[in-house]
Symmetry: C2
Subunit: 263 residues, 2 copies
DNA sequence: AAAGATGTTTCATTATTTGGAACCAAGCCA
DNA sequence: TGGCTTGGTTCCAAATAATGAAACATCTTT
């Protein structure tokens, strides 16, 4: 008899397991050895082994001979290009972000929600390009970023509860909201206000104002934010950009509505 | 008895089938309806249906209610970020591309080979800085691009044959090499020469010079190219950049060699 | 109303995945 | 040296999940 009554994550089929493993490898952020994966895996050795083989010769993983370790494969990059173009707001939002960037001269982020986490899909740098590695595809926490809070606050009840449950509530800075209760209160405030602020909750000295991008029927599609540092601006100063930010969010939403797929 | 003697692509297991479907959806370049996929699918209705369901609720695909169609999902973007950072030459090559770009002021491409096709992983051009997945992740043909030819020419015999077989040999321009025979001759010439030229083979008026990036043991890791237009430069003029290009390719290779993975 | 598309569900059959255990190959240590 | 540990690969009978023909819903057209 095998694994009788454990809560056991609802993985759909073999494919689900394989994709879960893919995620695990990606999360490591560096090539991982078989044994390391095995340690964090619910699967028996042989199963994990075969799944890794499959993923590898499909190009979803790459096996680095030299370090004897697995890393996410280039096939993903190819697939992601298609995903980014078709399923992200980035292509549509592009002109609006450009305009906003030009006007405010601060760092702009465009994000969407992916399994309760913030997924950045586009970015514009402040004039001085302190080029961090390209942002698209990067993920961030939902409970302590402006875009994350803005999106979660505007989800419907079910989605919101789900997202609230998925947060890690780690204290990144002294200002981080690190309990579910605090987070809930903040979400209420954001819903009332229409925009979210990040008050050094993720990184010390970094603040931002974020607005949700809502579809005509009120569903959350994503969020835009303007980020700055306390050295350059105060929260109040950021707040003066609110009308511009809201207009941008609205423009993006309208572009999305009027979009028709080609035959 | 099922599917008795067809050549039938060697798909490893259910996971393989699922990923193949993922590719199909991505290739469409626009949301696809169930029926369209079914038409191009070797699988029976029910099978395709279930596979699509699985992929969708795994976030690898997105089902657009409005258009009743499937598109690649955002989970891919997240995964690809990890892949790009760990499995592409882009992070390592970045400073070298920056330097080359600064010096020559022309469009630069960094590409790798993915299943016989050219996969662009980074780019520099005069105007726009990098926007991750708008350029990275894009694919191109191997037989009529500078980077493609440079890489394929330097593969080992097996890999080269495989790549030669995978090409489509479509005539994009009057200059396109559109038979396998012509392609083979060109590859020989490139191997002798050490660099490849694109003589308006992919797009009219567009030319480029490309060099392979080889590891210490001679394996092809990728290629760099400098692209220009006939309005601005001649092939001879591009050729004067050859030493710079080769130096860049070599620098990237050396950076890669000296790279050690963190524990 | 009937006939066509298109998408979804069922269920007995079949084939694939599973995972315990054996096996192999290096290190390591005493 | 020889035995012990650690990391990785292969086997194979049993358990499970995938399969696909066909029936069933819907929603359009005629």
């Amino acid at each position: 008899m095998t694994t009788p009554q454990l809560p056991q994550r609802s993985t759909d089929g073999t494919v689900g397991k394989a994709l879960e493993i893919l995620d695990q490898v990606a999360e490591f952020g560096r090539p991982v050895r078989f044994a390391e994966l095995l340690a964090n895996s619910p699967h028996p050795k042989a199963t994990l082994y075969r799944l890794l083989q499959t993923l590898t010769n499909q190009g979803m993983l790459r096996f680095d001979e030299q370090s004897q370790a697995y890393a996410p494969g280039l096939r993903l990059v190819r697939l992601a290009h298609a995903a980014w173009r078709q399923s992200s707001l980035a292509p549509l939002a592009r002109p609006h972000l450009d305009a906003l960037s030009e006007t405010v001269g601060e760092t702009i982020h465009l994000a969407q929600l992916d399994q309760g986490q913030v997924l950045y899909v586009d970015k514009r740098n402040a004039q001085t390009p302190i080029e961090m590695f390209s942002q698209a595809g990067k993920i961030g926490p939902g409970y302590c970023t402006g875009v994350g809070k803005a999106m979660i606050a505007h989800l419907d009840a079910d989605g919101r509860e789900d997202a609230i449950r998925r947060q890690a509530y780690l204290r990144h800075t002294p200002q981080t909201l690190s309990t579910e209760a605090e987070f809930r209160i903040e979400l209420e405030a954001i819903r009332a206000e229409g925009v979210a602020f990040d008050r050094e909750e993720h990184e010390p000295g970094i603040i931002c104002i974020a607005a949700p991008i809502l579809s005509a029927n009120g569903r959350v599609m994503g969020a835009v934010s303007i980020t700055s540092s306390l050295q350059r601006r105060s929260l109040e100063s950021l707040d003066t950009l609110r009308p511009l930010l809201l207009k941008t969010a609205n423009d993006i939403s309208e572009s999305a509505e009027s979009w028709q797929f080609p035959t």
